[in-house]
Symmetry: C2
Subunit: 351 residues, 2 copies
DNA sequence: CTGAAAGCGCTAACAG
DNA sequence: CTGTTAGCGCTTTCAG
């Protein structure tokens, strides 16, 4: 059996409450006895039982992270930021993979509530019904969502400035002289993606010489990017640039372009979104919009910690983090005039 | 305040122990009362407090996963397997990023023990001192290690058959006719990597026409792969094939080769290890040894669950999972004779 | 089949 | 400054 506070008390000749005080904060206890208790605790290798402590204090010092799939590098980065912040706040992090399945998601939440976690960071509740969202909001535990939820401002939120990100991509492609532009993205319901789409389209349309992009929607993963690109190249062989809703779709686009014998950026310019690690590793290195994923996870947990601390003032907090264009080598200047000067690709542009 | 078992008892006119029985297993309680209790619990939206339960049962239904960094796709895959297995066993998973820092690692373990997790899955204790390992082994909580620990058979272990993997790589390169072969890997202390190295070298040496590979050691990440490859190309410009200790190093090798104006596989064949997702995405798609990461995480948690169940028979279990060569397009046949037949690369070999 | 009671290990008033 | 006491919410004997 593990050594308990009683053992330490007996061994150091004091009452258990004195041990508790000595080990927890130290005030209201004689310096001599405190030292003695600490020494005995160390000698016995005493490990306070946090479960028992949690039962009386009502705080478990556990936070939860519910996301779709940790294998998505985006979420891995986010998880790391979250875990670091949790650790800094002396909490640990329970990982839950929901696969965006609403039932699985609610099941996780139920289980987490029973475990009495101090707060939950959720990837997305966009897929939840109105009623499920209401239940979440009323569950009594602070929740931070990872994208702006138009439906329910009861939750705190953290998100990247997706709309500005879309706008940055549009400005960049316009600046390079592109006019036949396509955008590959996911379903309309996906809040983050549609914000990007909105910023992208509105910027293209409000240019001095307005451009109407071709928008294709499908699965927002590798194979989706691949398929949509093939479809695009079939229907619109004259496009010169693609804005993919995320980097993984962009990777799919690279693959599709290769399969069709097209070179990037010589024959087709490509810009992604997210700036996941492998964006810089693939060939050609992908120009993309950097989303501060680590910082988002970190910020979300910080909000959660604050919310968990002051159980009373539960005013939701909303934070939007800035994005940034990372210029690599997957886009080229369209007009031949100064292509060599601008195009930073090793290989000369083929025009 | 949350609704407790007392509320349910009062509301259904029975004693709390009856509620407990009715909700937990149901035997030893009248069917009528059971139904009534269940109905009341549902109506009140009663959520049993698992913390209180854990205090009396001694089991928290929490497991922990200590790894170096979740952002490494290898560990993300592993974590997913672990989480799925934990969920299937009705446990949840606490995520800890140790960065392979021994102190951080021990700090995590200490914290997890205080939280009374039912078991710990650890990435590696290779970096721990003898004394730290001994303390771990005696901590009273089941621990499964993710690679074979030569030092201490007190732990259960799960690992891939790294040695066979190295041998597969060697056979493959020999079969393609390579003779000037290099191997890039990490420090000798890294158990997994050195097993791969051993299998690789011994197979090369025991060929009918023995080959002595050039072995370079350095950081086992992207930049390490990059730097080692540059060094290699400087010192041995005549190498025709590289076996990288892991895929991320192989990616670094790709980058270095490109920087030197070499094409893969035309000028240099490359084989990796791990088969992380992006191995199939980069250009050229990387031939590599598949390590069943998801299954390893899954298997490790299954062992942990079993160990947590029978607190008495704590006999450690060791499982080695098979690896497999995934042939893609980063290696080519050396002799010109049948290069087109064997080399599956889109582009014809340049000889 | 059900209730009463003890207690898991700890914290936090409240006395002294 | 220290000890006594009353729980936190639940499970689990032990009686009835």
């Amino acid at each position: 059996m593990a050594v308990t506070i009683k053992d330490v008390a007996r061994e150091s000749g004091v009452n258990i409450s004195t041990v508790s005080r000595a080990l927890n904060h130290g005030y209201g206890v004689n310096e001599q006895t405190r030292e003695r208790v600490v020494a005995v605790a160390a000698r016995l290798d005493y490990r306070p039982n946090r479960v028992a402590r949690g039962l009386v204090t009502g705080r478990t010092h556990s936070l939860a992270l519910v996301l779709s799939d940790i294998r998505n590098p985006f979420f891995a980065e986010l998880a790391r930021g979250a875990e670091d912040a949790a650790r800094a706040g002396n909490c640990d992090l329970v990982l839950c993979n929901s696969d965006l399945d609403p039932d699985k998601q609610m099941q996780y939440v139920r289980s987490l509530l029973e475990k009495r976690v101090d707060g939950i960071l959720m990837n997305s509740v966009a897929v939840l019904s109105r009623e499920q969202q209401a239940r979440l909001a009323a569950c009594g535990v602070p929740i931070v969502l990872l994208n702006r939820s138009a439906l329910n401002r009861a939750f705190s939120t953290v998100c990247a400035d997706n709309e500005t990100g879309g706008a940055l991509a549009a400005k960049y492609l316009l600046g390079l002289g592109h006019r036949k532009i396509a955008h590959l993205t996911g379903p309309r319901e996906h809040g983050n993606l549609s914000d990007r789409t909105r910023g992208f389209i509105s910027t293209l349309q409000s240019a001095k010489d307005p451009v109407q992009p071709i928008v294709l929607r499908g699965k927002f993963n590798f194979s989706g990017g691949c398929e949509l690109t093939k479809q695009l190249l079939d229907e619109h062989p004259d496009v010169t640039a693609i804005f993919a809703g995320n980097d993984v779709m962009a990777f799919g686009a690279v693959r599709a372009a290769l399969d069709r014998g097209l070179r990037i950026p010589e024959d087709l310019s490509l810009i992604g979104f997210d700036n996941i690690e492998f964006a810089s590793v693939i060939h050609p290195p992908l120009t993309t919009i950097h989303q501060p994923m680590y910082e988002m996870g970190h910020a979300a947990i910080e909000i959660l910690l604050r919310l968990a601390r002051d159980k009373n003032k539960q005013v939701p907090e909303h934070r939007t983090l800035g994005v940034e264009l990372i210029e690599r080598q997957s886009c080229r200047q369209l007009s031949c005039i100064n292509s060599i000067a601008v195009n930073s690709c090793n290989r000369p542009a083929s025009c």
